[in-house]
């Protein structure tokens, strides 16, 4: 028998002892501010300051990433109303929407929630942070990963928002060349920097690839290549 629990088993265990599930079902009383079929907002009894609210889905999701997209969209589409109400009702100038995903970020309970915090001296000090020196290479790597995940998928959407700097004719020639020239294709996908050098040195190639971002092309080709 395996000792390893599945995520479903872990979540089921958490649910049994979850005070926020009990608040949602009415077993534990709370100062409810707002409630609908998906979410509930209550006043925190251990507040960081006057007007501290907790907003959470009625269903038990340990993390935001585990919420189904339609539940998450519903949840966040209502936060604005609660936020405005919090500022008006508790007479606050500013407020903070705070989510902690994981204990290291300050999550205290395995029931996902959003804190609507009043901005006061305590929170102001809490969130004022020193800046660090930039490590450009790491930032580039992170940026590249985000670009790939966020931008890459957007291309599959209905609207071709991506502006191509190259003409249809050039694109067709390029596609043909890449189909025929397996060596070049491989070089671009495996080592875009070296490929860019080679293209730059070759007159014919540099004309063919004019205006093309080799690194971006490499990313797209390896994605497409893997999918086929």
């Amino acid at each position: 028998m395996s000792q390893q629990q599945t995520p479903e088993q872990i979540i089921a265990e958490q649910k049994e002892n979850c005070p926020f599930c009990k608040i949602a079902s009415g077993q534990i009383p709370a100062e409810k501010i707002y409630e609908d079929e998906v979410l509930i907002a209550i006043a925190d009894i251990n507040p960081i300051g006057a007007g501290h609210l907790l907003v959470f889905p009625k269903e038990h999701y340990p993390l935001m990433q585990m919420m189904p997209p339609e539940i998450r969209d519903h949840f966040f589409s209502k936060i604005g109303y609660l936020s405005k109400g919090q500022r008006d009702g508790a007479v606050l100038l500013n407020n903070v929407w705070f989510i902690a995903g994981g204990a290291a970020a300050g999550q205290r309970t395995p029931h996902f929630m959003l804190h609507l915090l009043p901005e006061n001296q305590t929170t102001s000090e809490l969130f004022t942070q020193k800046h660090i020196e930039l490590v450009q290479e790491q930032v580039n790597q992170l940026g590249g990963a985000l670009q790939q995940h966020l931008g890459g998928t957007q291309q599959q959407g209905q609207q071709p928002t991506q502006q191509s700097p190259i003409s249809e004719e050039q694109r067709a020639q390029l596609a043909k060349r890449l189909q025929e020239d397996k060596e070049l294709f491989a070089l671009i996908t495996q080592d875009p920097t070296k490929a860019a050098e080679k293209i730059h040195e070759d007159h014919e190639l540099s004309k063919l690839f004019a205006g093309v971002d080799i690194t971006a092309l490499s990313g797209r080709l390896s994605q497409a290549g893997g999918g086929q």
Binding site: R72, Y81, E119, L142, Q154
Partner: protein, 166 residues
Amino acid sequence: MEVYSDDICVVHVNENPITLGHVRIYPKKEVQYLDLLPGAQIAHMYSLANTCAQILFEGLKCDATNIICRNGIDSHVSLEIIARKNEDGLGMIWEPTPADRNTVAEIASKIKAAIIPVDPKQVDDVVAEPVPEEIYPSEPEQKEDEQIDPWNPKKDYRLDALKRLP
């Protein structure tokens, strides 16, 4: 460094970060408070934030993430996604201190009264606007001959994630 942009918002890797793995999402419309935007736009921004947090979690192997929006501090509000490590010294964690129940109840009723004027129907109309579809998790990419790339995770992240909960 801009990494994504659409009609509603733009995603930046912060060039002046408080930690490695600090991403900001700005609405295209320059507002001081995020709640001045329609609900569907807020939901869209959090959908992107959700994806960014996931990428930070997997790619940087961080222990947790914060998603924070400080309303009213800057003239152009942003959502901040911050990668966290155990004992990274950033703090942003407070000790829960019990407050007087009557005081809590009193403020709660005032906030409740301030929220009531919202017509639930109107709220639903806003929700009904099309929200761009979920973009994560993307299809696992197939690559032959490769070792595990932390930036392109394939396994069920939930087990790892659940270990990092209190």
